[in-house]
Symmetry: D2
Subunit: 140 residues, 4 copies
Amino acid sequence: MSAPDLSHEVELLVAFHDLDPMNVVWHGNYPKYLEIARCALLERFGYDYPAMRDSGYAWPVVDMRLKYVRSAEFNQRIKVRAEIVEWENRLKIEFEIRDADSGTVLTKAYTIQVAVDMATKEMQYVCPPVLWERLGVPRP
Amino acid sequence: MSAPDLSHEVELLVAFHDLDPMNVVWHGNYPKYLEIARCALLERFGYDYPAMRDSGYAWPVVDMRLKYVRSAEFNQRIKVRAEIVEWENRLKIEFEIRDADSGTVLTKAYTIQVAVDMATKEMQYVCPPVLWERLGVPRP
Amino acid sequence: MSAPDLSHEVELLVAFHDLDPMNVVWHGNYPKYLEIARCALLERFGYDYPAMRDSGYAWPVVDMRLKYVRSAEFNQRIKVRAEIVEWENRLKIEFEIRDADSGTVLTKAYTIQVAVDMATKEMQYVCPPVLWERLGVPRP
Amino acid sequence: MSAPDLSHEVELLVAFHDLDPMNVVWHGNYPKYLEIARCALLERFGYDYPAMRDSGYAWPVVDMRLKYVRSAEFNQRIKVRAEIVEWENRLKIEFEIRDADSGTVLTKAYTIQVAVDMATKEMQYVCPPVLWERLGVPRP
C-alpha cells in the first residue's frame, strides 16, 4: 500500500500591510502565510478548525521554526507548500514558500501541533485516531 | 448630581511591526490602539470583555471612523484617550491619539457598539441596564 | 463620452488568524481587506503603490469609515468591491464586502486619500494630473 | 574584565485583538512580543532600528524559533526577557516570556539576525564592529 500524498499548496499575493520599512515582508508576518496553507491542507482532509473542535480536540501549535532565505516583496506572487510529515504522537507540518514564477525558495518552516482534549484540557501524547482516519494513514 | 467622568487614557509606544514602507504607522493598525484604550476604559468600570460575556451580552463594533491628522513614527510615545459619549441605545466611544510629549493631535476616531443578547443572538435597541449600572449613569 | 468604470472586485477567504474569541472576524482586521481591494483597483489603472512612489507622491489615508452589517466567519468566501467615487481634490474609494455565494452585504466602508509631494512633504489640495491620466478621467 | 549584561526585560499586557477563537493568544502573534523586547534591548545599547540604518546595515531576521509551553490569556500581564547570546558572526537573541505575577514560563524563543550592507546588499559573515562597540563587548 502506497503512502497517501499529505501535501497541499496555496498561492498568495503579498499585501501592502505585510511590508515593513525595509520594503519587504516583516518576518513576523510569515506565520499568517503558514496558517493559510495549514488550514487549506487540513480542510483537504476534512479536518479543518471547526472539524477539530467537533472532534473534541484543540490542536495548539507548540513549536514553530522559520528560516528566512530571501525576502518577499510587494505584490509578489508566492506559493506556500505544506506537507504533513509526522502524525503519530504529534502533527508536524513542513512548509516551503517559493516565488510563484521562478520557484526560488524564500522561506522554509515547520510547525508542531499536539492534540488537547477539550473536555479534560489534557494534552495527548498519542494523536487521537480521528486524525489518522481523516488523513487516511494506517494506525501507527 | 454631577455626571461621572467616563474617560480613560493609556500610553503606548509605537512598535516596529506597525510601520509601513513609508516609515510611519500603517493606517489600518490604529484600530489596535483604539482597542487597547477601549479595553482599559471598560475595565475601569468593571465591564471588560470577560464581564460583558458573563453579563450575557456581546458588544460588536458596528461603526468605526478614523481621521488621520498626522502620522506616527517608530518608538513614538503616544497617548490614547477614550471617552464614552453615548450609552442609552448604543455605546459610542470617542478617541483622541496625541503625541505624549507635545500633546499634538495625531488621530481622532470613534467606535459605536451595540449589545447583542448572546442567547437569542438578537441586537438590543436599548442598552441593557448592566451597562448603566457599571458606568454609574442614571437610567435614561 | 461615457465615464470609465472605476471599480474592481477581489475575492478573499477569511483566515483563521483574523478571528476573535467571538469566532468572527475582529472588526479591526477589515482595513486589511480594504487594502487588498484598493491595491488591486489601483494596480488595474497602473497606479499601484510603487507607481505612486515613482510619480513623486505618497497617498496617505486621511479618513476611513467602516459600517459593520453582518459578521464574517472562518473560511467564508467574501467579495470586496472597491470603486473610486472622487478624484478631483482627494481620492475617495467606496467599498462593499459581500458574501461571495449569497451576495449578502457584510460591511460598507470608504477611505479618503490625499496626495503628498514626497520632495516637499506638502499636502496637495488638488490631485496631481498623473492620477487623472491613469484613471482616464477628464481633467476637472 | 567581567562580561557586560546583554539582557533587557519589558512588561506587556495581552490585547484582545491578539486572541483567537480558543480565547488564547494566536501563536503567530508572539513574534510581535519578541519584536517589542528586541527593540527595547537594542535601544538600551544605542543600536535601535534607526541607528542600524544610520550605521549602513540592515539586520534581517534569518531564523526564528518559538516553543510554546503555556497559552497566554486576555489582559494577562507578561514579561518578555531578551538576551543577546551571540554577536560574533550573527546576532542571536534568546527570549523568555513569563507570567508577570507568578513567573511561570509561557514561551521560549530565539531569533538570529545577520548584518546586510545596505549599499552593496551583501550579507556580512562577520558582524560589523559597530555592533561590538555599541554592546561594549571585546572584538572577537
